[in-house]
């Protein structure tokens, strides 16, 4: 049973560029959440997708956008990259509906470096 997979694992961009990160959820999971984890910090909630719609959003600017596909996979897009966007981007999946454990299953993350 494949867990949450993310790509790419590492990437380097320059300021002003755009980036797309990809995530495939764990089998049987239909909800995907994205988190940003800066060095030495805990993950911060960016947004969550369910049924191809953004259901919840954290305190991130509109430069951060996403998409969910019919097969539940998801993309995170960041436009006009800033140095401060350098971080580990984690994708987490969970099953919708009750009962659920509330547990998030995390991928290994995509390490973005902005120069």
């Amino acid at each position: 049973d494949a867990g949450v997979t993310q790509s790419p694992t590492h990437l380097i961009k320059t300021r002003g560029q755009q980036v797309t990160l990809r995530c495939s959820p764990k089998s049987g999971h239909d909800t995907v959440s994205w988190y940003q984890q800066a060095l030495g910090q805990g993950p911060q909630f960016i947004f969550q997708y369910y049924e191809e719609e953004e259901r919840q959003r954290g305190n991130f600017p509109d430069r951060f956008s996403g998409h969910q596909f019919p097969n539940y996979s998801s993309e995170l897009n960041v436009n006009a990259l800033l140095l401060g966007d350098s971080a580990l981007y984690l994708c987490a999946s969970s099953p919708e509906g009750q009962p659920n454990t509330g547990e998030l299953f995390f991928g290994e993350g995509s390490r973005l470096t902005v120069l």
Binding site: S33, F45, Q48, L90, G102, L104, F106, G107
Partner: protein, 110 residues
């Protein structure tokens, strides 16, 4: 503003020691509190707590939640070098929306 605060930020102990990690929170629409262990990249699930005073236990790890005082503790007894990691506390505020603390970095020396 919803927030989760963990303490201490870092901790160095020797094998065999017992450690207590703290997590306090202020969130609206509290649903659950979770503990994760992060060794390299992907955090891995340890416990989920929803009710006050009920201890969750797994081997040498245990955790308890106090919903009145808004905090949780994670205990690790007889620590081993393999316990070295960052321990993250997360509070679910709203369905599957989690606020994380900054983590406690635990270093267990032989």
């Amino acid at each position: 503003e919803d927030k989760v605060v963990q303490s201490p930020l870092s901790l160095v102990v020797h094998e065999g020691d017992t450690v207590t990690l703290n997590c306090s929170y202020e969130v609206t629409n509290f649903r659950s509190l979770l503990w994760y262990k992060q060794e390299k990249k992907a955090p891995t699930f340890l416990f989920m707590l929803t009710s006050s005073g009920i201890e969750k236990k797994s081997g040498r790890l245990s955790s308890i939640l106090d919903k009145k005082e808004l905090f949780s503790i994670l205990n690790i007894t007889a620590t081993q070098t393999g316990d070295s990691a960052v321990y993250l506390c997360a509070v679910e505020a709203g369905f599957n929306k989690f606020y994380f603390g900054s983590g406690t970095k635990l270093n267990v020396k032989p």
